[in-house]
């Protein structure tokens, strides 16, 4: 243990002297700055709706009263004004409402890229709006994506789990491999290998460095963006578990190669594959069963639970447990392999 600690102190000194450390901190700060100053609290997601009414004045006024209070609906005079407005905002839709033999009919004006389901949504929106003529119905024109969860994070906070997963679980893969190969190149691994210390102490020290960096960058980010409403004990647990898993995986993978260049390809493929669940995270409609088996899936979703006000704590605890165990198993495997290959 004393030797592990000595090795860790040495590695820490080396990383304070190295570029990776400042790069990671720098990236965290840039990420925080971008989130705070560039990304809006919530993305603009509602659709502009242009409407023209070819009705008698009395009816027009009724409609305008009903709709005028909605920001997303703009009442225009005629078809050509609608078309012009829609050309300027390619995400908007329009409709013309007229009376035909005492029945109210409407004509949808679309951009052309809308698919069937979108058309139905818009139709439902307009019909709902027309129904508001009947007293007792309230205005219901804004179309929004349906939320799976009852709770919703602000768009800004919603991005944090992606960052934490990338930073802690995936980038660690690359950086720990880089550390090992740097040591190999410098030859210092050989000097270490002929001292009365074990390979696992060498590897564990590297993982502790990764953990230290992961904790620093994650805490900076979450503190700056979310503040104190997060359970930092759970955050600590999640970072420790995912970081252990990520860096042990990085160690295991790099044990199959003797240069960074050779290892790069495999590490890259792994990271790309692990990024797939981001799609599920951002687009809840894409959620096939198999994607849940990617480690980054539970990583992101348990981070999100952590950020929810009433997150599922047992889910968080379970993921911490699972990834700690997986990480330790990978570490044992990496150690077993490196015992034979570290100095060759």
């Amino acid at each position: 243990m004393r030797k592990l600690w000595m090795t860790f102190l040495k590695d820490a000194k080396l990383s304070f002297n190295s570029f990776y450390f400042y790069m990671e901190i720098g990236m965290a700060l840039i990420f925080v700055a971008v989130l705070l100053f560039v990304v809006p609290e919530n993305f603009e997601s509602s659709q502009k709706f242009y409407i023209a009414m070819e009705l008698e004045t009395a009816d027009t006024e009724t409609f305008q009263q009903l709709m005028g209070n909605s920001e997303d609906v703009t009442v225009l005079d005629n078809r050509s004004e609608i078309v012009n407005a829609m050309k300027k905002d390619r995400s908007s839709v329009g409709a013309i409402i007229r009376k035909n033999d005492d029945k109210i009919v409407y004509e949808m004006i679309l951009q052309g890229y809308e698919n069937e389901s979108m058309k139905n949504l818009i139709k439902a929106g307009i019909e709902g709006e027309i129904l508001t003529q009947i007293p007792g119905f309230s205005s219901q024109i804004t179309v929004r994506t349906l939320e799976m969860d009852s709770e919703k994070l602000s768009d800004r906070i919603n991005i944090i789990p992606i960052y934490l997963t990338m930073n802690v679980g995936l980038m660690g893969l690359f950086i720990i491999a880089a550390y090992i190969f740097l040591d190999k190149e410098e030859g210092v691994i050989k000097a270490y290998a002929v001292a009365p210390v074990a390979v696992w102490q060498y590897l564990a020290s590297k993982m502790m460095i990764m953990l230290m960096m992961g904790l620093i960058t994650s805490f900076i980010t979450v503190l700056a963006i979310v503040g104190f409403s997060v359970n930092y004990l759970y955050l600590f647990g999640l970072i420790v578990a995912f970081n252990t898993f990520g860096s042990a995986l990085g160690l295991f993978l790099s044990s199959f190669f003797n240069t960074m260049v050779k290892a790069m390809g495999v590490l890259y493929v792994f990271i790309m594959i692990m990024m797939l669940p981001v799609i599920s995270y951002l687009m809840p409609s894409f959620n096939p069963m198999w994607i849940k088996w990617f480690p980054s899936y539970p990583m992101m979703f348990s981070m999100r639970e952590l950020l929810f006000e009433n997150g599922d704590q047992s889910y968080i605890m379970m993921q911490i447990g699972i990834y700690l165990v997986l990480g330790l198993l990978l570490f044992v495997a990496a150690n077993h392999r490196f015992k034979k290959t570290l100095t060759v």
């Binding site: 000595m6 090795t7 000194k13 000097a191 002929v194 001292a195 210390v197 060759v344």
Partner: protein
Amino acid sequence: MIKVNGLYHSYSNDENYAVKNVEFEISKGEVFGFLGPSGAGKSTTQGVLTGLLPLQKGEVEVVGYNIRHPKREMFNKIGVSFEQSNVYGKLTALENLEFYRKLFDVETMNSMDLLKWVGLDHVANKKAGEFSKGMKHRLTFIRSMLNNPELWFLDEPTTGLDPAIASQIKDIVKEKNKQGATVFLTTHNMYVADELCHRVAFIIDGEIKLIDSPRNLKLQHGEKFVVVEHLENDVIKKEQLSLIIDRDKARLNEIISTGKIEIMHTKEATLEEIFIKVTGRGLK
């Protein structure tokens, strides 16, 4: 201290051996030289003996431990200096030594003293990455003696150093040996081998051709010459005469009896000449 039996090693794990059927023993207190041209398999042998390369075939015992089942604690008794210096470039010379020192369970030497020994004390707090090649090499060398090793592996300890520093290093090796350290020394410099080693092994293409003391080798393989410079009719004449060939011996007697010798000295075959004679190959 070291027992090696039928050692083979192949980097490609096939019949393409870098080291073939190597056998030797080194006893306590000996300085054993591994002498051979570049690519002969010297570093490979040292690699297997220090556990850096896997033991594929053969039996190796080092400081009483079987290398097939190495124990970490055996490295308390071993010191290894590398052919290519390998120190942390981002740490200072002193930090490099201090870190390494703490990895041992036995009493270690004072880092500053060691730096002084090889003239690096004035750059103790400079980053090793900024060192010259020779400075890094010296740092690698002294790091290998931090734990006062019983068995000391030295791979090309003087190569690439200027003569003054090289002779300093040789003095340190002699001194440590006097204090009891056993030394396994790898080199392709025959002067270093001649000066330091009790016995040398000639190795070529992964095979040991012979093992003997430099003195025996010279007696067996070296022809002794006497070089005489003498005055003959007021002109200085220089002759090289064999001490084996009768005609040369008679000529030497003749010169001695005329008594006009200016300079006379014996010339022995160098280890390099013997190496070439025995193996048919040079050391370069």
